[in-house]
Amino acid sequence: MLLEIRDLHARVEDKEILKGVNLTIRAGEIHAVMGRNGSGKSTLSKVLAGHPAYTVTGGSVTYRGENLLELDPEQRARTGVFLGFQYPVEIPGVSNLEFLRVATNARRAQKGEEELDTFAFEDLVRERLQVVQMDPAFLDRSVNEGFSGGEKKRNEILQMALLDPLVAILDETDSGLDIDALRIVAGGVNQLASPDNATLLITHYQRLLDAITPDYVHVMAAGRMLRTGGKELALELEERGYDWVDQELAALAAAEVA
């Protein structure tokens, strides 16, 4: 068991967004969480990564037997939890190469591996660049500054390739990608998936799931998992749209009142 989320409740400011999320992820699995805007998908990813704007008000998250919620964001990352951002942040003045090296060494130190010096790191990063077919010129620029949407997402997957996470949470990694970029990013994710790690894809659309085959698909609505199934659930959603979600939610609300 890598990650176990039990009855997770969380709010941002005074607004409760997660209202009892349950999810269990084992090594070797790929999970997809689908749902409409505002269903709580992105909040779930940020809560797992430890974003300070979100407050957990109930429930638990156990990561490899430990309470994940007790850890600082940087400790979560060092122990192998990775969040691929929907909107990667631009940081003018911080070199991408230096950023990647400091991050990689922080993760390596946690794993008991030796620190990589500038030269050793350059070798590693050049090799990993191939995973996302990225131009080395991006290493010399500031973190994400002036990158196109597709370049930013590739940079996220490059970070994932360097940090070698055990649980990778990819928040709408497919948004804003053209078909070629989507293929490259999905190829990177597939290449990095192994029997020892797990991937949680948060997405709106089926098209990412054409390129990455999930073991489980969860539909999220109103802050919890409404339904769980196999990859066919995603296809069903694509066909029927999300309208049935409202009916199920209404039925659920009625049942709770009664």
């Binding site: 979560r76 990352a77 003045g93 911080v94 922080a106």
Partner: protein, 412 residues
């Protein structure tokens, strides 16, 4: 308050004491010293009622030793290929030095003619810090860069306490180029005063990078006055950190417009420190350009002041000027005062200005943390990134003098 210069009687007493301990006027600058002393006695020490000094408390001066500075060696590596001159305010910086081709010492007649000319042209000859320098400086480094020559110099000064006045006069002939990297270090209580005048003939290029590291019981006053003929380029960059009190005044005049002025400033304050930049750019003709960015980082109870004056009179049509003040506030007890002061009479000009004050961005910090970078290291990377734009503008030797730890601030 007994130990401050807020009362007129205390300012007068401090000045009287300061003037009385100066040695008798002597040497090549004797007449200048006498005029400076008379002017100081006349105008006194500025009070916070004067608009130019409104936010800048001079109380620290009260605590500083007044005697001439003890010379000290700057903490620098051996340096590279660029000629390095030591300025200690006392000994001859050119003794035993062979100047590179294209650089010459001004004659006495030229010095007499040139000294003070650019101060007057940039309307600062009567500024208090300038008079303070004139009253006490006993020597001046006066150099010419010959037409079409290209030269580079390092000027380094360290103070082990007391009063250190530095005065420099530069004449750049047509198409001459000079890269000047200047380091000032204070390592004990004291006052450092710098006055530079530079005259840039047509198509001349001056690049000056001033790196000044002080400490809590040290004060720095610097005036850098530049006169620009058409087609000339002046690039002045300044980094000041650690001073109890620092006041920096870059002053440029484009005498007939059609020149390019580039200003970059970075000041860092923590603890109880005060740093103040008052810049002044005057376009006295058409088609002049200004590109100015001033940055400040304020932590602790530090205080940063920026006042950016730009004068665009009627004759300065088609001026293109941009000024930006960006400030990073790291503590809720620190204070930033920033003010553009644009005086535009010409009607066909582009004059942009802007000011921002922000703290470290939560989203940027979280992004770095989410990659395993500790909160403190992440904050350090972001602070360094904020400074980077100014550091990049320094000439290469000066840039090497700005290691990360010198720019670290106590955020307490």
């Amino acid at each position: 308050m007994t130990a401050s210069l807020s009362a007129p009687t205390q300012r007068a007493a401090w000045l009287e004491q300061w003037l009385s301990q100066l040695p008798a006027a002597s040497g090549a600058l004797a007449a200048v010293q006498q005029r400076g002393r008379a002017a100081l006695a006349q105008q006194g020490v500025p009070s916070s009622r004067s608009e130019d000094w409104r936010f800048t408390d001079l109380s620290l001066l009260q605590a500083l030793p007044l005697a001439a500075a003890q010379p000290a060696q700057p903490t620098l590596d051996a340096g590279g290929s660029v000629l390095r001159l030591q300025l200690d305010g006392q000994s001859d910086p050119l003794a035993g030095v062979t100047l590179p081709a294209g650089l010459e010492v001004l004659s006495e007649a030229e010095l007499a003619q040139g000294l003070g000319h650019t101060l007057a042209a940039t309307a600062c000859q009567q500024h208090w810090p300038v008079e303070l320098n004139q009253a006490s400086a006993t020597q001046v480094l006066a150099l010419r860069v010959k037409s079409r020559a290209s030269a580079a110099l390092e000027l380094v000064s360290a103070s082990a306490g007391g009063m250190l006045p530095l005065r420099i006069l530069l004449v750049l002939e047509e198409k001459a180029q000079l890269d000047l990297s200047q380091l000032i270090e204070a390592r004990a209580a004291g006052l450092v005063s710098l006055v530079i005048e530079a005259h840039l003939a047509r198509s001349a290029q001056l690049r000056h990078g001033l790196v000044a590291f002080g400490q809590n019981d040290a004060a720095l006053f610097s005036h850098i006055a530049v006169e620009q003929e058409p087609e000339s380029q002046a690039a002045l960059s300044n980094v000041a950190a650690g001073w109890g009190l620092a006041r920096h005044e870059p002053r440029l005049v484009q005498v007939q417009g059609q020149a390019h002025s580039f200003l970059r400033g970075l000041q860092l304050v923590g603890g109880q420190q005060i740093a103040d930049t008052h810049s002044f750019v005057q376009f006295s003709g058409p088609e002049g350009e200004l590109d100015q960015v001033h940055k400040a980082v304020a932590a602790g109870q530090g205080r940063s002041v920026f006042n950016g004056a730009v004068r665009v009179p009627r004759e300065a049509q088609q001026t293109n000027a941009a000024q930006l003040s960006r400030n990073l506030l790291l503590s809720d007890r620190a204070r930033i005062d920033t003010k553009p002061e644009l005086e535009i009479v010409a009607d066909d000009v582009k004059c942009a200005h802007g000011a921002t004050v922000s703290s470290l961005q939560t989203d940027e910090l979280f992004y770095l943390q989410s990659r395993g970078i500790g909160a403190e290291q992440a904050a350090g990377l972001l602070k360094r990134a904020f400074c980077e734009e100014v550091l990049r503008a320094l000439p290469e030797p000066a840039r090497q003098w700005c290691p990360l730890d010198q720019l670290e601030l106590e955020s307490a």
